[in-house]
Each structure stands twice: as C-alpha cells, then as structure tokens.
C-alpha cells in the first residue's frame, strides 16, 4: 500500500509532465491496436479456406511470425519510454531515503499503469477499425466482423501488453542508476560479443543446407514448409547477428568520420548497438521476408500461368493480399517504433541538445547526426537481412527465381518503402528536436 501511495504521489500527471506521460500511452495504444487487428485477422483466416484450410493456417502463421519482431520492437520501445520518464522524481524519492527496491517498484508500477491505460485504449481503437479493415477480401468475401476478437481474447491481449511493459521496465531499470543525485543511464557502452554472430553464421549455413535437402524432394508442401522453416531460422539469426553487424559498421564509420555529424552519429550507434538494432529490427525482418515473398510471388506468377482450380486461384489471390497487408502492417509498426524511440531520445537528450545549440552548433548538424544514427543502421540491416535471406533460399529457389524481375521488384519495393517510412518518421519528429534545441521550448 505504501508503494502504491508513493507511486500515485510520484506518477500523477502534472501539466508539465503530461506530454511525457502521454507519449508512452500513445505508443502502447498503437501497439495494442495493431496487435488486436493482426490477431483478429489471423483468427478469422484460421477458419477460412474450406478444403485448403491448412494452407491458410500456414500462411497466417508465417505472416504472424513476420509481425512478431516489429511488434516486440514497438512494445519494447513503448515500455522503455514509460520506464525512463519521471527520472527526477525517482531521484527525489531516493534522496528522501526510499530504498532502491521501492523506487524500482514505483517505476515498474508506473510503467504498468501507463501500459494498461494505453493497451485498453488501443483495444478500443482496434474495435473501431474493424469495419474498415474488415473490408479486405479473403476467400472471396470480406473478413468483416469475423476478425473482431472476443472480449476475453481482447482482455488477454491487453494483459499481455502490460506484462511485456512490466518485463521491459524491469530489464530497462538494470541499465539505469537510481541514485539520490539523479537517475541516469549507465555510462559504459553496451557490449556485443562475437559469439552470437558465430552462432548466427552457423544457423544460416545449417538452414541453407536444410532447405537444400527439403527442396530436393520437389513436393510443393515440402517446399512451402521449407520456406517457412528458413524464414523462422532467418528471423532468429537476424536478432543474433543484427547488433554485431551494426557495431562493426558503426566502428568503420567512426574511423572514417570527417564531419561533426558523422562523428556524433557513429558514436551514438556504437554507444548502444543493441538499441540501434532494436529500433530498426522490424525493418530487417520485413526486408528478410521481402526476399522470401519475392521468391513466393515469382512462384505464384509461374503457377498462375498454369491452369489452376478455382480454389487454388483464390488461394493465390489471397496470398498476394495477405502479403500486402502484412508488409504494410509490419512497416507501420517499424515507423511507430522509430517514432517512439526518437521522441524518447530527443526528450532524454534535450538539455544536451540545448547546450550544443548554445555552443553555436547548427541545428542541421544535430539533426543530421540523428538521421544518420538511424538511417545507416537501417540500410545495413535491411540490405544485410536481404542477403541473409537470399543465402538461405538460394539452394531451394536457385538464382534464376531470385533474380526474376518480379522478385527483385518486390524486394527493392519493400526495402524502399521501409526506408521511406522511417525517413518520414524522422521528418515527423524533427520539430520536437528543434524545440529541444530552442531556448524557449
């Protein structure tokens, strides 16, 4: 009870702190709304397809696995944002003699409340969106109300989002020093070892060989299962490899940095390669998927030229629709994740930004550093994951299929869409950066 009372005293929104409280709530709202819509769509598709219900289930599972990373990225960003607000007030509590455990409990409790409020709002938003998104046609009919999750399932999602927020807050606090003199991020750069990278390379090689073995059977089902497995292995590998590759790339850029913006950007990424990865990991997953999808689209293109039964033709159409919906959904999550992370970073560094402005640092230098710190890792990860996917798929599809114009168009189009969306998000957060550098915020 004592912790609850303290939490209320510390966490109740003041006028000045309203924006800081609203931001994570909005982030949780967006996360939950997208999650409820995605799960609703998946649930509706689970029972669609008649004779080919298994095909629909498999493709739905693949789409869901594609959305896991961007969704975790967004959820994690929202949770970290919630956990890092109120720094001064938490420090004051320590100064007044509250033990570290109690202050941590207050921080976690606040993150949980913000997540719960945001998730509940998100569930409401999702239900409002159902009529619009339900118009998307699968199996010859609009999804409609069948994609509306039940009350119990929706409550489950809200609870799950809140739990993820609590978990992330607990993990986030490990990186934070709660001292009476202030709450600050630990100053040591995070480390990324080579062991995960070595494991990742091993998994890619194993997946590639595995795909070759199942691909040799020639059966369509085995080929599709092979695609699914390679996809799952690839996503896992990306998470292991991503931070390591980002660190290597930033290290190379640091050595070459000739301008203030390049130096700031490279150091910022090197300071937290895992954070930089988390921000763009969703885009990497989409880029990886784009190669798989590109190959799939080419297979479908070849297949649709042959005489197909009505049911198969419908499945081919639905797979295409599903691909578009999934890629758009995944990129929306990536854009939200970058937006939330950037907003949090700008607010966290406002004092430093203002001091740089006072020294006469042009706004363009700080803005350029901010953009570079996101875009360069984004390019490295999207291109890197596309290459990883191509390596895994190559034995199954061969170069001819991967290099078909339709495959390449799908791959390049998806990567370009991702980069453009992230650019747009950076552009959207630029006014916040300007305000942070201004003397009269």
């Amino acid at each position: 009870m004592k912790t609850l009372r303290i939490a209320w005293l510390v966490a109740r929104p003041s006028r000045a702190g309203l924006v800081l409280s609203l931001l994570p709530v909005v982030a949780f709202t967006v996360t939950t709304a997208l999650l409820v819509v995605v799960l609703g769509g998946a649930a509706a598709l689970w029972t669609t397809g008649g004779q080919v219900v298994n095909a629909y289930r498999m493709f739905t599972s693949i789409a869901l696995s594609l959305l896991v990373m961007p969704l975790l990225g967004l959820g994690g960003a929202a949770a970290r944002l919630a956990a890092r607000r109120r720094d001064d007030r938490l420090a004051t509590l320590r100064l007044l003699g509250a033990p570290r455990g109690q202050v941590s409990a207050v921080a976690v409790l606040e993150a949980a409340v913000l997540a719960l409020v945001g998730a509940a709002l998100g569930a409401g938003v999702a239900h409002l969106l159902v009529p619009a998104i339900g118009a998307v046609r699968f199996a010859g009919a609009p999804l409609g109300g069948s994609m509306r999750l039940s009350g119990a399932a929706t409550a489950g999602v809200v609870l799950a989002v809140t739990l993820v927020a609590v978990g992330s807050a607990v993990l986030g606090l490990r990186r934070v020093q709660l001292t009476p003199l202030g709450v600050r991020l630990r100053t040591d750069a995070t480390r990324t070892g080579w062991v995960p990278a070595a494991v990742a390379v091993g998994v890619v090689a194993a997946a590639s060989v595995g795909v070759q073995v199942v691909g040799g059977s020639g059966a369509v089902t085995v080929v599709v299962v092979g695609l699914g497995l390679s996809f799952a292995a690839g996503i896992g590998v990306l998470n292991l490899l991503g931070p390591f590759v980002i660190r290597l790339s930033a290290g190379r850029r640091l050595r070459r940095a000739g301008s203030a913006a390049a130096l700031l950007a490279a150091r910022r990424v090197l300071d937290d390669p895992k954070g930089a990865w988390r921000q763009v990991s969703g885009a990497a997953a989409v880029s990886f998927a784009a190669v798989v999808v590109g190959a799939g689209v080419s297979i479908l293109d070849v297949a649709s030229r042959e005489s197909l039964s009505a049911e198969d033709a419908m499945l081919v159409t639905d797979i295409r629709t599903g691909l578009v919906v999934t890629v758009v959904g995944a990129f929306l999550m990536v854009a939200c994740s970058v937006g939330v992370t950037q907003a949090a970073a700008i607010l966290d560094r406002a004092e430093l930004s203002r001091s740089l402005a006072r020294l006469g640092t042009p706004e363009s230098v700080v803005e350029s550093a901010r953009r570079r710190a996101v875009i360069r890792p984004l390019l490295v990860t999207t291109l890197g994951s596309a290459v990883t996917a191509a390596v895994v798929l190559f034995p199954l599809t061969g170069l001819a299929l991967l290099a078909r114009p339709l495959s390449l168009l799908t791959i390049l189009g998806s990567v370009a869409l991702g980069v453009a969306l992230v650019q747009a998000t950076l552009w959207a957060t630029a006014p916040l950066q300007r305000r942070a550098m201004s003397e009269t915020p």
């Binding site: 100053t187 000739g258 300071d271 001091s355 020294l359 006469g360 042009p362």
Partner: protein, 282 residues
C-alpha cells in the same frame, strides 16, 4: 527597478583605455509575467574577469545569456567588439548569432554538458569540427589543450569515466580550443567540492584572462567570485553593485607559453606546454 538604476555602460573596467569587448545597455527581458532583466547594463573590457553574482532569480543567468547571444532581450542592445569590428548582437538573426557563438565565444556550463558517448578528445574536437576544421587537425589541437589542462593520457576516456573536475576541464578545453576571445561560464564550479572548485577555477583563469582572453562567469560562490578581477551584483534584474577586487592568489601555475588559437587562423602548432593540475579523484 528601471533602467536608470543600472550603472551606465561607460563604467568599464579591465584593460585601461581598451574599448569594451562586450557591452549591454538597458536590457529588459520578460518570461511571461516574470521580469528577469529590468534594464541591466554592463560593459566588459578585454582581458577582464567578471563574476556576476546575485540571489536566485536576480537575473544573472539571463544577463549572461543575453550577453552571449543565447537569448534576445525584449529591450536594450548588446554590442560585441570582436576582431572584425563592432557587432550589434541583438540585431543579428538566429543563425548569425549561432555562428558568432561558434567562432567568437566559448562556454562552460555547470554540469559540463559534454556529449556522453564521445571521448574527451572528441568532445573538445567537436567544437572545431562544427566550425569546419578537419577531424585530424581538430583532434590534434584538442589533445594539446587537454594536455595543457592536465588531462594528458585521458584523451580516449568517455565522459562517464572522468571525475567531475576532470570533466569540467574537458569543458574548459572545449570552450578554448576554437580560440574564442570571450568565455562565458555559468556556475562552472557549481557541481564541484571546494577543493576541486578551486582547482577548476585556477585552470579556467589560467587559460583565459592570463592569456588575454575575457571571462564572464555567473556564480553563487563568493570564493569563486573573489578569484575574478571584478564582481557585479545583480538585484531584481539590474546591476546593483559593481566593484573591482584584487584576485586571490591562484594555486594554478601559469603556463609559460599558452596555446595560441585564433578564431580566424587556427594555429599550425598545438599547445606544447603541459600543466600539472591536481587530479581530483572521484
């Protein structure tokens, strides 16, 4: 208070006969219903060290911000007598004031406000790189200044790996590396213990006024103010008292040949003198 309560700007001290390097005349600055400056005037001569003191809310930081072109007053003018002649700071655009701060002024803040992910040498070099100096040259000059301020061997340390006093010396190096003739410091020792504070003030004075630069600092600490040649007291947004004092003897050892960095022409040789400042451990 009204503008006429402030001493006229002609009351300049510092180098006798020299024209003021920075002059504020009748500055008024309001933040909503609060009047931070109510007609403050001040003139600072080249080579002077001026401590601005006063109670919280007396307007001392706002005066410093207006003098440095960080804030623009609602009324009154600020002139800067730089190497390129007289500039009316208050008439400049935001971008021009930014460029002026970059090339002509150096700043030291209470918490240092250094970029945490950069190393010490990169933090100092950044000030030059923003102005267009190549990285290699910027880091060479930065390392020279760090050595000059007793931080040799700590160039590659991140800011979190330095003590408060060491970090503040990095901030001083950053303020000086561009060759700025006028240094502004806002509570530069506010976050330090008295021992480290004396040490940092010694380094600051030794690297500024002792080398012909001008120092304007805001402080609450009478001991810090006593180290300056002149103390200005602010009350309710105006300069209420202005007196010169004999600076206390400094524990800082004056370097025989201070680094010479000119804002218009960066030096070809880095600072070569090293100063054995006390290491203030954390």
């Amino acid at each position: 208070m009204t503008p006429e309560h402030s001493p006229p700007p002609e009351h300049t001290r510092g180098r006798p006969g020299a024209a003021a390097v920075v002059t504020a005349d009748g500055l008024v600055k309001r933040y909503g219903l609060t009047t931070a400056l109510a007609g403050a005037s001040l003139a600072v001569r080249p080579g002077d060290s001026v401590a601005i003191m006063g109670a919280s809310g007396s307007g001392k930081t706002t005066l410093l911000h207006c003098l440095a072109g960080i804030a623009t007053p609602d009324e009154g003018v600020v002139h800067y007598g730089g190497p390129d002649g007289d500039v009316e700071v208050t008439a400049l655009s935001d971008a021009r004031r930014s460029a002026l701060r970059r090339s002509q002024f150096g700043f030291v803040f209470q918490e240092g406000l250094l970029v945490p992910e950069l190393t010490a040498v990169e933090n100092v070099a950044l000030a030059l790189m923003v102005g267009g100096t190549a990285r290699g040259e910027a880091e060479r000059l930065a390392a020279g200044w760090l050595a000059h301020l007793g931080l040799a061997g700590m160039e590659q340390r991140r800011i979190g790996q330095l003590s408060g006093g060491q970090a503040q010396r990095v901030a001083i190096a950053r303020a000086l590396v561009t060759g700025a003739p006028l240094i502004f410091a806002d509570e530069p020792t506010g976050a330090l213990d008295s021992h480290t504070s004396a040490d940092v003030m010694g380094a600051l004075l030794g690297a500024t006024t002792a080398t012909g630069r001008t120092l304007v600092l805001v402080t609450h600490d009478a001991t810090v103010a006593a180290r300056c040649a002149r103390t200005v007291h602010m009350v309710d947004g105006v300069v209420a008292a202005d007196r010169s004092a004999s600076p206390s003897p400094s524990p800082y050892t004056q370097p025989s040949a201070p680094p010479t960095v000119s804002p218009s022409a960066p030096p070809t040789a880095p600072p070569t003198t090293s100063q054995s400042g006390r290491e203030d451990g954390r």
